[in-house]
Symmetry: C2
């Protein structure tokens, strides 16, 4: 296995340690619960926002903790839900007078861990709300889900809720806002190569030298079909059509566009993809209000990308433009 790994069992803790050491004033690592949290959280004038999910999707979500984004991320091992007792302890540690919000990507394991964690934490007096993210249009049910999967669109839910919670929004309003963001967010991804989970040490799935997996999941789950590799524009047209046709769009609508790298695709290719998406949206009369090109929600070193569109309104535009700071930054 050619990766920067020491002991595969220690991969996640060693990564979390690095994240905290690189951000000593902003973040705190709590090894007992595999937890990254804002050093200044919880605050009683703000709902605490927690995301939990498997690791291996970085920067989602441990590098998305900071002012204006998450108050804490409670990751499991690579591609595994966090244990429910860590969810309980994280919720208690982040408890605030205004409550705690769980953001959960729609995977059976994550939902079970957070349902149980919520019940136990509520029994200890923590007020909790839940927002479920299921933006992936690729398939109806999947290997690890009943219903659609939650993928890179999650970033927009976090960003909007992070901004609104920083402004003092109440728990119920945040739950409603999160559901609203999710309802206007659609994504689909495609893989050019498999990823290599550290504990497995080899490719998670086999893909021929001339094949791509259209609609792949961020854990390597099958998508809609295997196809022969084609030109970038042809492949991206298929992603775009799937995403655009899943919501009613009219000429004059405005969107946020994310071209998300799955881990192994260079940012040069992602910008080439973005250029084509922008042109195609323009032809449909859809304007780009905000653009995001880079790695947001990955699948380790998988080559490929996903496309996310968010239908914008004035409130959403304002929330997405609000200041924020996280570990995954360039300066």
């Amino acid at each position: 296995m050619k990766k920067f790994v020491n002991d595969p069992q220690q991969f996640v803790p060693e990564m979390l340690q690095g994240v905290a050491l690189a951000n000593p004033t902003m973040l705190r690592y709590v090894p007992e619960y595999n937890l990254i949290m804002r050093a200044d959280a919880p605050r009683d004038d703000k709902v605490s926002i927690i995301q939990g999910s498997g690791s291996g999707h970085e920067p989602a979500h441990v590098m998305a903790v900071g002012p204006g984004m998450l108050d804490a991320a409670c990751p499991g091992d690579v591609f595994a839900a966090p244990p429910s007792d860590y969810v309980v302890e994280t919720s208690k540690l982040l408890n605030s007078d205004k409550g705690v919000l769980h953001i959960i990507n729609n995977y059976t394991g994550d939902r079970l861990a957070f349902d149980m964690g919520r019940e136990l934490a509520e029994a200890e007096g923590v007020k909790i709300g839940t927002v479920l993210v299921d933006d992936d249009v690729a398939v109806k049910d999947s290997t690890y889900t009943v219903g659609r999967r939650g993928v890179a669109g999650n970033f927009f839910v976090i960003k909007a809720l992070g901004a609104a919670s920083a402004d003092g929004a109440d728990l119920d309003d945040l739950v409603a806002l999160g559901q609203r963001v999710n309802s206007v967010t659609r994504s689909m991804g495609m893989a050019l190569t498999s990823c290599i989970p550290p504990a497995k040490g080899s490719a998670l799935f086999e893909l021929g030298d001339d094949e791509v997996e259209m609609g792949v999941g961020i854990h390597g789950e099958p998508g809609r079909r295997r196809e022969k590799v084609r030109s970038a524009d042809e492949m991206i047209d298929e992603l775009l059509e799937a995403v655009v046709s899943d919501l009613p769009y009219s000429s004059g609508d405005e969107v946020a566009v994310m071209v998300n790298g799955l881990g192994g695709t260079p940012i040069s290719e992602l910008y080439l993809v973005y250029g084509h998406v922008h042109d195609e949206l323009h032809k449909r009369g859809i304007a780009v209000g905000r653009s995001y090109v880079g790695e947001y929600c990955t699948s380790l070193e998988m080559a490929g990308c996903s496309l996310t569109l968010v239908k914008l309104d004035d409130e959403l535009k304002q929330l997405l433009a609000a200041p924020a700071e996280i570990a995954a930054r360039i300066f």
Copy 2:
């Protein structure tokens, strides 16, 4: 070839088009000269800072154009120097009363193109200064260089000069500052896999399943030696020793640390690497003043990383902390 590419000959222009479309108010794409520039440049109250080099290292350098960073990037094709007439036209287009500064990574092709471009532009009345970057300690001479190569440390030269030029520094002062930043900056990289240049369509070099190239160049040039893959900590210790031992350090010194992904390595692994570097520096009495973990100067989709240390002083800390904005950002 499994990449997001249409016509390999159009790979760079299509990428540049995407960069400009994603940043419509900040940047302008000038297709005649393969140029990305700030939309508000040139300004006569500021030296214009230009970086030229081959493409394939993104975000360096076309995604490093913006307020507080570069005024323009003048890229060649993938891994190729820009034509000297583009250097001339870029220098003329960015001409300012305070002059134009060329930042050049030390590669023979880039130096030739910029030497000739400078001479021709000066003949047309443009005042030009040059800063050469050669931070890579791996080898003395290399495939495309006499002397050391310029790699990811380039980011710090750009950042410091971008900040100082925004404050109105003169051309001579900027040349001296750039040389000073380069003189305290040292890097070395290692490859786990080769990259695939679009026009070649296959791996640039062969590396065994259990081999790494220690000291690799960002164009896949040979480094110090091939080694068997080992634990992350053992491999990173070798990078760190090479970089630290190349400058005199004393206990109490402060550094900026960059763990730069070469394109195909997930950010989770880069943070694991950062954690170890931080600990090892601490053991040597060297404090981390600023940290940078992510992709800054890549080699397409090469898996691997480089390590850069910059010895800090008060002026440098202030320049690195100054505000800046570029295409490669997360929000």
